[in-house]
């Protein structure tokens, strides 16, 4: 039915047009603005449903492909398409955005139309990043999505927002420049003189070229993920960002780094990836252990969750770069390699839900008490029992409790890592203890205990909008914890294809 429609373009441009339209609305009618924004985001989400239902789960080929000439002089195309890696991230983006709008219903009162517009435009641009098959188109979306993010932090942010924005800018800028150079270089190496990402996969680059490209991409993607030691922008950005900004940042934007490793680094530079996989693994394990300890001692709730995000994203990069180790350990057998990458992917999706939920929870408390300091809380369960149930659930999910989606990815990566090396598995498994320590100690100090602050006693429990947003997230966190197969099923052919590709040396 929808086969003839350019579905991907619709999903990208509908929210952007919606955002521009929202800008024209008057801020005096803030409910109208929110309703408009919500309708656009919801329509976008509904458009992603046929994307999933009509998706062919048996092929690794790009689907829903659109290709138009864009800048002919440079052989640049408006080229879109999705596979098993990108589809879930697109659906995730379209699912999270309406929740942000619902959750901000009461909290956002100033410059409402601009706030909503920023989120809608950003949604379209991020979906563009996930579906672009031309590397210049990818780069344009990649850079453009930062602008609304800077604005969100810079305009609606906290007191220290300028420092945070500059730091964010410095980090991401450094990575982007190197990536652009790598893209331009590859274009000149390609026989077709094209910027097509799939053509890049076929380039026969020597080890020096691969290594330079690998590190150029590594810097770009490692900053986004963020990986230790280029992570320090994230806690600052989160602390200054408004709730919705934090949610988008944690739930979607970090995933673009992970996505980049699968779309660019591994298939373009497989030999360099194999050569330097130890480096990524060391950085990932450092993220799990080092950042795990740092998260424990945070005094600001947002910083704590920000650090916990870094630790959880460590599993993503760990999973992505395990296959080489498994391959050499098992000498020829591939078993475990797909699980490692699929585990990393699941971890990304699940972290999208859980981190979104936790930042929304902190937002709920911040809206009432205007503090993010742990010491200002305690005994929240007395005044907000419904909210507290959600918070405990999401904290448990954050500590990887089986039955929640937070368990699935970590479990898969830990199982796969044992096939590579006992010590990798051991260090990765410390998340069981560290994750529980920072998540539940937070719960103990904030949710439980006696009320020490009279303002806490007057906090009102969840409103209908907040309840809806958290309830939907709780539903998916539980659903995919109990039955993750629908998520994993769509990836199989793509991941298998990727593995076959990266184990064939280009040298």
């Amino acid at each position: 039915m929808l086969g003839s429609l350019p579905l991907l373009s619709l999903i990208i441009w509908l929210p952007i047009i919606g955002g521009l339209f929202t800008l024209t609305l008057s801020d005096h009618d803030s409910t109208g603005v929110k309703r408009t924004a919500f309708v656009f985001s919801l329509a976008t989400f509904f458009l992603t449903i046929p994307l999933y239902t009509d998706f062919n789960k048996l092929t690794a080929d790009m689907q829903f492909v659109e290709r138009l000439s864009w800048i002919e002089a440079f052989n640049i195309y408006y080229h879109l398409g999705i596979d098993g890696i990108s589809i879930l991230l697109i659906v995730l983006t379209a699912f999270i955005t309406p929740l942000i709008i619902i959750a901000g219903w009461k909290a956002i009162q100033i410059r409402c139309s601009q706030y909503m517009a920023a989120f809608l435009i950003m949604e379209g641009l991020m979906i563009g990043v996930f579906s672009a098959l031309d590397s210049i188109l990818f780069f344009v979306f990649w850079e453009a999505m930062l602008i609304p993010m800077f604005l969100i932090i810079g305009v609606w942010g906290g007191p220290n927002r300028i420092y945070a924005t500059i730091k964010f800018f410095l980090y991401t800028f450094l990575g982007s420049v190197l990536m652009l150079i790598a893209l331009i270089y590859m274009r000149y190496q390609s026989d077709t003189d094209s910027f097509a990402i799939l053509d890049f996969h076929m380039l026969r680059l020597n080890l020096v070229e691969q290594s330079l490209i690998f590190f150029a991409f590594l810097l770009a993607f490692a900053v986004k993920v963020p990986m230790w030691p280029v992570h320090t922008w994230l806690p600052d950005a989160h602390v200054e960002a408004p709730t919705g900004g934090s949610v988008i940042l944690a739930a979607i934007m970090l995933k673009i780094g992970g996505y980049g490793f699968l779309r660019f680094s591994l298939p373009i530079a497989p030999d360099a990836s194999m050569r330097f996989d130890w480096l990524i693994i060391v950085m990932s394990l450092t993220a799990v252990v080092y950042i795990g300890f740092v998260a424990i001692v945070q005094e600001d709730m947002k910083k704590l969750i920000a650090y916990s995000s870094i630790a959880h994203m460590g599993f993503v990069t760990l999973g992505f770069f395990l296959p080489f180790g498994i391959h050499t350990t098992l000498s020829g057998e591939l078993s475990g390699s797909a699980m490692a990458i699929e585990g990393g992917m699941i971890q990304m999706i699940s972290h999208g839900f859980i981190s979104a939920a936790l930042f929304l929870c902190i937002g709920v408390m911040y809206d009432r008490l205007h503090s993010r300091q742990i010491k200002d809380y305690g005994g929240v369960v007395v005044s907000m029992p419904v909210f507290s149930s959600f918070m405990v659930l999401f904290a448990m999910a954050n500590s990887g409790l089986p039955g929640t989606s937070g368990f699935v990815g970590e479990f898969m990566v830990i199982l796969a890592s044992m096939k590579s090396n006992f010590w990798i598995a051991l260090l990765a498994s410390t998340t069981l203890i560290l994750g529980a320590a920072y998540s539940l100690w937070l719960v103990k100090r904030v949710i439980f205990g006696e009320i020490r602050n009279s303002e806490v006693a007057e906090m009102k429990d969840l409103g209908i909008h907040e309840f809806t947003a958290l309830g939907l997230l709780a539903a998916v966190v539980l659903l995919f914890g109990i039955w993750p197969d629908p998520l994993i099923e769509v990836m199989h052919p793509t991941i298998d294809n990727l593995l076959q590709h990266i184990f064939i040396s280009k040298l």
């Binding site: 390699s337 498994s429 069981l432 103990k444 006696e450």
Partner: protein, 653 residues
Amino acid sequence: MVEKIYLAIPLLPLFGAIAAGLFGRYIGRSGAHWITILSVLGSFVLSTIVIKHIIFDHASVYNEAIYIWMISDGIRFEIGFLIDELTALMIGIVTFVSLMVHIYTIGYMRDDPGYQRFFSYIALFTFSMLMLVMSNNFLQLFFGWEAVGLASYLLIGFWHQRETAILANLKAFLINRVGDFGFLLGIAVIFAYANSLDYAEVFAKAENLSLQTINIFAGSEWNVITMICILLFIGAMGKSAQFPLHVWLPDSMEGPTPISALIHAATMVTAGIFMVARMSPLYELSETALNFILMIGSITALFMGLLGLIQYDIKRVVAYSTLSQLGYMTVALGASAYGAAIFHLMTHAFFKALLFLAAGSVIIAMHHEQDMRKMGGLKKYMPITHWTSLIGCLALIGFPLFSGFFSKDSIIGAVQYSDLSAANTAYMALLAGVFVTALYSFRMYFMVFHTRDRMDEHTREYLTETSWVVTMPLVLLAIPSIFSGFIFEPIVFGEFFSRSIHVADSHNVLNELGSTFEGIQGFVMHAFSGPVTYLAFAGVGVAYWIYVIKPQFAVDMQHRFNLIYKFMDNKYYIDHLYINVFSVAGRAIGKVLWKLGDNVVIDGFIVNGSARAMGWLSNVLRHLQTGYLYHYAFAMIAGMIALISMFVIAVNI
């Protein structure tokens, strides 16, 4: 048909938990207890049908998947049930004790504002525990394993205003996570070498695994099976509170008493024992692991029992007793006497649930006073509680013909026959433990029910027997506490578990013990020819002498051996070690990494350093461009040119 029954057994309590938890406000207090009690009653009735089906009708073992959780790397991860004698017995115990505790809770939690929430949690726990024991694979085992931990966490911290309660539940969860850390690694090793998490497939490959080694350090090769068994057992040490991961269990007494009975005595803490018995085809292949288990079990059995001697809080006496009895079960596992371990698990579930619920009954009557020094003489006020407690104590110390007598004597007898190197030490520890058990049990019994009344006038005035919802479960638990021992012969010596548990011929201590068995009468007579029964009697006698005849003696001893008393009163300083070393060190590491690593080295040196460098560069280039952002734009172009040149040069070399 049977499949639907199997499915209904765990799902009924889950339904009850959801109804009471999410809709508690609408269905009200009685709605919550009716729904959960009826659903657990339903599970119990269905469990008895399963017991008849599997145990009495010898139906074939059921081992089927319910649904596919996921497929990755071509390997199916499933949720499924394995129903054999071991499972049937476990679901019978779990649903029975859970039903008793549900009924009892109506009385115990009567005035609590969190009434519906409590019923929801204990029903959720029942669901999780049933999923754990019914599992046919390691994935679901881990699910149940952590889910019972969650229920325990929620219930220990049930009174979430109390600082001690929320500290205790955090401690319980974290220490269990230390165990689970080992447990998950064990599962990962299994997966890495067997490529499956299905019990049957893994057991089929067990022989093969025992021939392989895993390289841990350069040059040190570990047997894969030993590795798996020890890692899994670390999980059991957490859940079943074995030394040195036992510290959470005494503190878990901060939770309401019904859950101390259900979770922290009868069911959840025995999950580790159940798991090792279930994994017998693996454990039988590693004597190193069995010796390790024997050592851990005997340390726990004796030294935790000793701590029971100096407690004054009635619940803590029972808690330390639970630790010690779990040690007995662990020793039985180490000696390959799995049948005896499971049998003791069963009798212990009855009499320990009884003792906890009786202690709870005393606590209700005493208006939530738990200090035994303020009790005394309760026999005349609370006859039902008194008699059922006496039955519980007699079963616990292994008084002849009571249930605990058969289970404990089988364990001690079996250990005697074991050839493992740690078996002798374990035997001595268990013997000493018998005396200690009798001493602390009857110390508690005499201090609470005999001796003079020490409560204040106000309390005594209102002191009466508790209501029938409380005493009925006591009576219903007292019956199996006395009589369940008589079925011990087929379970411990017979072929009862032959389809569930595998014992290597060289370890078959129960068979050896069984060959000397000449009927129950003979077993009882035999008990009088060895030291065990006399040690128990001696314990009771000493308790009577110290706490009834010469109460001053205990006080004198305490003063004379003050150093030892202090050492024991501080629980051998293990908690201090954990708090002052691990907890403080963990936070210190976090602080150092954060303040020094992130803030000084990365931010201060690298980030701000580059910013300064950028500033310096822009200063140099000031005559070309002005304005903040232009600096970066310029740097971008200059950098790009420089880097492209480097690229081209590097590639062309």
